[in-house]
Symmetry: C2
Subunit: 323 residues, 2 copies
Amino acid sequence: MKRLIAILAVLAVAVSDPAWSSADPLPGWRDSPVRQRILAFVTTVTTPGSPGYVTPAERIAVFDDDGTLWPEKPRAQGMFALERLRSIASDHPEWQNRLPFKAALELGSKYLEEASDEAVFQLVAAAYAGRTQEAFRQAVREFFATARHPRFERPYTHLVYVPMRELINYLKASGFRVFISTTGSIDLVRVLAEELYAVPADDVIGSSVVSTLREEDGRLVLRRLGSVHALNDGPRKPLAIDLQVGRRPILAVGNVKSGGDIDMLRYSQQPDVPNLQVLIRHDDFEREYAYDEPDGASVKAANANGWLLVSMRYDWLQLFSAE
Amino acid sequence: MKRLIAILAVLAVAVSDPAWSSADPLPGWRDSPVRQRILAFVTTVTTPGSPGYVTPAERIAVFDDDGTLWPEKPRAQGMFALERLRSIASDHPEWQNRLPFKAALELGSKYLEEASDEAVFQLVAAAYAGRTQEAFRQAVREFFATARHPRFERPYTHLVYVPMRELINYLKASGFRVFISTTGSIDLVRVLAEELYAVPADDVIGSSVVSTLREEDGRLVLRRLGSVHALNDGPRKPLAIDLQVGRRPILAVGNVKSGGDIDMLRYSQQPDVPNLQVLIRHDDFEREYAYDEPDGASVKAANANGWLLVSMRYDWLQLFSAE
């Protein structure tokens, strides 16, 4: 019996191995040097006996979320928070004179297109206040079941970049473990990650609010408070990856906006082990948005460190799914 | 091709499903009500269509480490730290008059049999100081490759409780994700968990020291400092599980010593979802140790909450592997 299991397991792995399949794993990517370098990297680390071979346990990939896996204008998280904050704003007259609440309530999605990650997470934190994990998750599910992006007029969940989803699937099929490291709320992204990318809850790293463990009706209950525990941005990203994953990634993917992914990408660079860094540029005004960093820090870091720069406009044949 | 993969996958799962196999998944357990309740619980949550069915994504199990998976007298972590501290003690004259350093250096393993989890982790933290992750891991590997338990005179890594290893394997084969939640060092247990239980690094939760991200020779390097960042004990355990796993466990396993697992076990109790709590009692003076809590808090909690009490002496036919 054991032998039969072993044979079936080997067959299943062999048949699902992309090397056995002639199907293109990245049809949404133009056949450019960018695409070729990604394919070459994955081939190198997955080819037993190759000098660059990496064991499956060490094939750790981390992806930023907003702006890397889907649009960040406006941050969907912020829109979720805004709906909640509007419904309880009358109980919080102090928000009328306090940023970021005042700006968010007055300007809505326009503000959320430009707000800093920190400001957006402050709004999300306030929207958590007093909720249990379960209640918060339920609220997230309800919002994303109906909310639509103001410009694209589609559910946010239909705006995952097709080439990124392909890349995640390709990496998984190649024995990678894929983690999402978001500056947004870890609880919120966990709800979406399973559905959108089949990334399990524990493979999401993100910003968190303070939680308290309380005895309620004879049970232990975790309640979220409205204050920020940790913002997962900049130098926090490598530290949080170290704490939650426990291994250094060999592949890191982020995007140009605030320089917030630079440390994560740099952290994945290591001597003696093949590694790849991918930086997405938002240069597609027609299909998405075109914006850059005022100081150009991410692109400068990419050039200095040999990272792969991806042009949405040129390198991606398809941006969003047909529906 | 896709259909062939699907068929093979179904076959592989079906054949590896314990329900299809006549092999006993828990041969090291006496056929007692304890064993029967564990088997019944796993059968309930894994039987599609049963009212207690739980999807694989929600089959989260958490295990305490020291005293639950292997002996905690003395804490192997403490022995690791002690070796390091002894080698650098001459640079730290202040330890001569400071607890827990003074006691550990003078009394050695005797002290580590009785020391609090907090004191042991303070020693481990001091042993980290200034090291990179990689250097720390290498030191852990080297220590456990040769160190032997003072009483059993075997490598610590040969002292995993056989019934616990069986339980972990049984749960994994039944679609559970198994996490280890240790009061010991997350970094240290990560090195051992892959080797001893095939539990990947990111499925280990534990105590951590403060880390700093530094630029060294043009690279980003994480260095551990000698100070405690978080002690994963008592009420910290549910909070850390929430942060790192993102789901409430349905099975929690701990042991009697300091009451440190009570909150974790209580946290896994939830309405509407089947759940099981297992508390190990060290009552086997001949094969291991016999000790209890001064205040009996864990056993009281077990009785009040209907947890499964496991007697090492009675319920476990085999304690350690033959060698």
